[in-house]
């Protein structure tokens, strides 16, 4: 587990002393004679050579990487789902090149078989008609989406991205445990595992000939881009949204491949084409990589209860204007009962038997299968025929046949047979994993990914290993405490270095800036506002508590004058860290969570850090001096976020919305502060307070060399274009950013938003400090507030 591995380290090195495979179970590291298998020699030697503290240091590097990148996993089962650190197992699983080639070839064959079955189930349905597949298995399968029958995929193929769950049996041979054809997850996590593992064992990784993963992603990305007919259309990744357990991965892959991440509500179907609502209007999407179950994709023609789909998605597919990865309805292939038939379908459809068997499966709707189950119940696990889980996953429906009497079993099988399958209880091979600093054998399964390219299937050379929490194969699921490890395919020869850069020309064109979905733009704008608002609240509070600590009751009139400033954001200054500040930070996190694909991991962890700090402080900080110091610390962290975002984010449309949010919020803050504190009737000390809130104490001293006057304050904080805290500076920034937005200035005609910001700019540019009344300041403040509405109307709805 992240973080724990290093801390619990005890005893001497993580060598092989004491590593004993389980009796009768094959082990990846040691052969039957107890010798280290050749490809593991270097890794075993490396682990054995490290002192406990060295090892702890290595593991901590990986953990730090995962934590800093914000890799997390959403855990269900408690009262509320919670985000857990990624359950990472540091020791990779090693496979040799020869073994791997056989696995790859077998899985490519299986992928072709599944494509052929799918094409039949959504086409002529000959497999059922000829008696090769029982009709109930298709007609009763919720994954078989009737509206998709007869719709031929535009690309010519139904399946484009698959995963297979593999296990190694007692005889050392690999078996397919499950087919993942719906919307397989894990490829992005495999990448993160790889980076983390390479950090923990950097020296070793560099000298071993480990196949790189980037080529697989590059080829699939290029294949998706090539799936467009119109070069100006987009490839998008459809996610169920931030509440999904693998949302992190969706955002990660979108960022890694440079595709637009969308949710169902971002999309719309118009005249038979799928469109994404962007800040520049509706833009066509021709290739959609969906990360949700097919049934949810269209509430109109598929699952009517879906809240994450797009009405008309099926219509777009019917019109042949969209390539869906994978075609809707591919979930039908995942039902475990299919595995009872695939071995027989392979010779029929491909002319050859399966190169890699799948786990022995009997569909109990068949009399011969029932006899087989009754003859050897001790080997069987019974389960729902249409369930998609693996036999070792602990599901409520799984029953060991041996726990029933023969008569009971026969009774169960006879009338309900068609709804049941029996699968052989499997033993999985074990692989070494670190448990409290020592290597221990644990059962593992392997998830291998295949992607379709122009030249056929390509196999990710590596994958995603799931490692059991205990020697019991049932505890392998992550929800059951299992963990994930990297998979190294080790070649005897040096492997080519690969990168994401496309080898050939055409596909590498960057998507045009207007690909930004309106929802993402909205979230970025509010992210900018909330971060700035938090900073503004902190500044206000700090000024308040400093005065409270220094002058106590004497400062009462000034403190009372601050009330409208606090009220604007619902802040109750009496608390050390008020709830409104925590809410504002939480809202920033929530907005950022919606756009993780566009938000750098560093900025994310900085934001997360501020949020945690504020929450910790809220528990123990007393008003007054204590508070003022805590708030200063918070302010430094917030400034760090702004730095990370503004220094590191590419100057795309997304960044503009973020900046507009920040400028807008700051303009609101400073104009309100001036209207209140520069009022002629404001109490003693108000002008100094305004200068402090505007972070301009030093500048004021240098420029005016005098005590603050109303004119000097208005000049410096409202009208000075060079003071980055001045109102004028914010308005200039807003004008510059808004001018660059889509449709701001079309053929010389300004949008209402661009026109209004230009007016504000002109007003401030020509104002005279002496003439600027409180009423005028309030009026400017109100008009700035209205910019937000204009922006919303123009770009977010």
């Amino acid at each position: 587990m992240t973080g724990d591995g290093a801390a619990q380290m005890t005893g001497a090195g993580a060598g092989l002393d004491g590593y004993r495979p389980l009796p009768g179970v094959p082990d990846e590291l040691l052969d039957v004679a107890g010798r280290v298998r050749p490809i593991w020699t270097s890794l075993a030697g490396h682990l054995g050579s490290l002192s406990p503290s060295e090892l702890a240091g290595h593991l901590a590097r990986a953990d730090r990487y995962l934590r800093d990148s914000g890799v997390f996993y959403r855990q269900y089962g408690g009262v509320q789902p919670s985000d857990r650190p990624w359950p990472f197992s540091h020791v990779p699983v090693l496979l040799d090149q020869q073994d791997w080639s056989a696995i790859s070839a077998a899985l490519v064959q299986r992928a072709d078989l599944l494509e052929a079955v799918m094409a039949d189930l959504y086409g002529p349905n000959r497999l059922v008609a000829s008696g090769r597949l029982p009709p109930a298995l298709v007609a009763g399968n919720p994954g078989w989406l009737r509206p998709m029958v007869g719709i031929r995929p535009r690309s010519g193929h139904h399946l484009h991205f698959l995963a297979f769950e593999l296990g190694r049996g007692p005889d050392g041979k690999w078996w397919v445990l499950a087919d993942r054809t719906q919307a397989p997850s894990g490829a992005g996590y495999a990448l993160e595992n790889r980076v983390a593992t390479a950090r923990a064992f950097s020296g070793l990784f560099a000298q071993e000939n480990v196949h790189r993963l980037a080529g697989f992603f590059r080829d699939f990305r290029d294949a998706l881009l090539a799936g467009r007919q119109d070069r100006d259309s987009r490839v998008a990744i459809l996610t169920p949204g931030p509440l999904n357990e693998t949302y992190f991965e969706h955002a990660y892959i979108a960022r890694y491949l440079g595709f637009t991440l969308v949710q169902g509500e971002d999309l719309n179907v118009s005249e038979g084409r799928l469109m994404v609502r962007t800040v520049a209007g509706m833009r066509p999407v021709e290739v959609l990589w969906r990360r949700l179950d097919g049934g949810y994709a269209d509430p109109l023609e598929l699952d009517a209860t879906s809240r994450i789909g797009t009405p008309g998605m099926v219509a777009a597919l019917r019109a042949g204007s969209l390539t869906m990865v994978n075609a809707l309805g591919s979930g039908v292939l995942e039902a475990r009962a299919m595995m009872a038939f695939l071995p027989k379908l392979a010779p029929h459809l491909l002319g050859a038997p399966l190169a890699m068997p799948n786990i022995a499966t009997w569909w109990c709707g068949d009399a011969t299968a029932r006899s087989a189950v009754l003859a050897a119940p001790e080997r069987m696990i019974l389960g729902d025929a249409l369930d998609t889980g693996m036999p070792m996953d602990q599901r409520s429906d799984a029953i060991r046949a041996a726990t029933m009497s023969t008569a009971e079993l026969a009774r169960r099988l006879q009338p309900q047979g068609a709804g049941l399958v029996a699968q052989e209880a499997v033993t999985l091979s074990t692989t070494p994993t670190l448990v409290a600093g020592r290597l221990m054998p644990r059962p593992m399964t392997l998830r291998v990914f295949l992607a379709r390219t122009a030249t056929g299937w390509t196999v990710m050379p590596g994958g995603f290993a799931r490692i059991g929490a205990t020697p019991d194969p049932a505890a392998i699921a992550m929800q059951m405490g299992g963990s994930a490890a990297d998979v190294w395919v080790v070649s005897p020869d040096p492997v080519p270095a690969v990168s994401m850069v496309t080898a050939y020309g055409a596909a590498q064109r960057r998507p045009s800036p207007s690909a930004l979905p309106a929802r993402a733009a909205d979230n970025l704008f509010w992210l900018g506002r909330y971060v700035e608002r938090s900073e503004g609240i902190v500044r206000l509070l700090r000024a308040y508590h400093t005065r409270l600590a220094e002058a106590g009751a004497a400062s009462a009139p000034l403190l009372a004058a601050m009330t409208p400033l606090f009220d604007r954001n619902g802040v109750k200054p009496g608390q050390g860290v008020p709830q409104a500040l925590l809410d504002s930070l939480e809202a920033a996190i929530s907005s950022a969570g919606q756009v993780r694909d566009r938000f750098s991991p560093d900025a994310w962890s900085a934001l997360d850090d501020v949020n945690r700090s504020a929450r910790r402080m809220a528990l123990r900080v007393a008003p007054g001096d204590d508070s003022a110091r805590a708030l200063s610390a918070l302010l430094r962290k917030l400034a760090g976020i702004s730095g990370l975002v503004h220094e590191n984010m590419y100057r795309f449309v997304g960044w503009r919305f973020l900046s507009i949010g920040r400028l807008h919020e700051r303009a609101m803050g400073i104009s309100t502060a001036l209207a209140v504190l520069a009022d002629p009737d404001a109490p003693e000390g108000s002008l100094d307070l305004a200068i402090e809130l505007g972070d301009s104490v030093l500048t004021h001293r240098r420029r005016y060399n005098a005590t603050a006057s109303r004119d000097s304050v208005i000049d410096l904080l409202a009208l000075d274009p060079l003071n980055p805290r001045a109102l004028r500076h914010q308005i200039d920034g807003l004008r510059d950013q808004i001018d660059m937005l889509p449709a701001a200035n079309e053929h010389g005609a300004l949008s209402p938003l661009a026109r209004e910001v230009l007016r504000l700019h002109a007003e401030l540019a020509t104002a005279d400090p002496a003439q600027m009344t409180t009423e005028q300041l309030w009026s400017v403040q109100m008009r700035i507030g209205e910019l937000s509405d204009l922006l919303t109307t123009a770009y977010f709805i």
Binding site: N125, V128, A129, S130, G131, P135, A136, V138, A139, G140, R146, P147, V149, V269, S270, E271, L300, E301, D303, A304, P311, G312, A315, R318
Partner: protein, 293 residues
């Protein structure tokens, strides 16, 4: 029998609603040997932005509409002319109930009319233990599948009360059955659940009833609105039979079919965004009149 059919559906929205994509399943379909649609016309007010007609998996006529934004009311008018033949069902050729499963297994076809689609639970028709028990009780004496359909249908009609106020379009069948009340949709879906529990494939049929009964016969329940009944597969020889549990009778030339599905969700007359927005009122009226000649 030659009919003139008129259907009007009207929705009023308290708040204007945005542009919406709708699917209409309101046009009668052709059924070889049983029903022929001579003419069918649908008008929408306001005029839709997009309109497309297609047949769904079960062969039902579907109209796909995209409506303009900001609607406060919406109206569909359908007029049609239909030829409907009556089916004679004097002889029970259906399979003995215990043999039905074997006959079903001989069907290896997954076309729209295949009974295999109609045996498993569907979105609106889960297995309900109380209905399963009721089905077993009321079909005890049935020798054949067709007899089971008839006995079940009559038994259901005896215990259920027709009550348009008691249920909503999305009331679960278990609730409607527990209350022993509902409309044709509830009667039909409960009967389908019961038939499926006996291993009899059963489909949902949406359609219309003639508004005025033939001379000397009582007016049927549900004639002033869209109607629904049940279609059951009773073996290779007898095929499908249709029963109307709301009126406890086999279906005759008084019924005109719009379409088939596994349950209401496959045949809902209007599917789309309107269902998602609350605060609306909807009315519909039906007129199915026999034409001379």
């Amino acid at each position: 029998m030659r009919y003139r059919l008129r259907l009007t559906i009207r929705h009023d929205f308290r708040r204007p609603i945005g542009a919406g994509r709708q699917l209409l399943r309101i046009c009668p379909r052709d059924i070889p040997g049983l029903q022929q649609v001579l003419r069918c016309h649908v008008a929408a007010d306001p005029e839709p932005l997009e309109e497309a007609w297609f047949r769904d998996f079960f062969g039902n006529e579907v109209i796909e509409l995209v409506l303009p934004a900001g609607l406060s009311s919406l109206r569909f008018d359908m007029t049609a002319q239909i030829l409907r033949h009556s089916t004679s069902s004097s002889l029970d050729l259906s399979a003995p109930l215990p043999r039905l499963g074997e006959e079903l297994a001989e069907i290896t076809d997954l076309g729209p009319d295949s009974p295999h689609h109609f045996l498993a639970a569907s979105p609106h028709i889960p297995a309900v233990p109380e209905i399963t028990a009721f089905a077993a009780r009321s079909s005890r004496d049935a020798g054949t599948a067709c007899a089971a359909v008839e006995q079940l249908g009559h038994a259901l009609h005896r215990i259920m009360r027709f009550d348009p106020e008691a249920t909503e379009v999305d009331t679960p069948i278990a609730t409607a059955f527990a209350g022993r009340h509902g409309v044709c949709q509830d009667f039909s879906q409960i009967m389908i659940a019961a038939l499926r529990s006996l291993g009899i494939p059963a489909a949902y049929v949406s359609g219309f009833l003639r508004t005025l009964p033939p001379p000397g016969r009582p007016r049927l329940e549900g004639a002033d609105a869209m109607h629904a009944w049940v279609r059951a597969w009773t073996g290779i020889e007898a095929g499908w039979v249709e029963f109307d549990p709301t009126n406890a009778c086999f279906v005759s030339a008084d019924h005109v079919t719009i379409g088939y599905g596994r349950d209401y969700s496959d045949t809902a007359p209007v599917t789309g965004m309107m269902r998602l927005v609350g605060s609306q009122t909807g009315t519909h009226s039906v007129d199915l009149v026999e034409e001379a000649g």
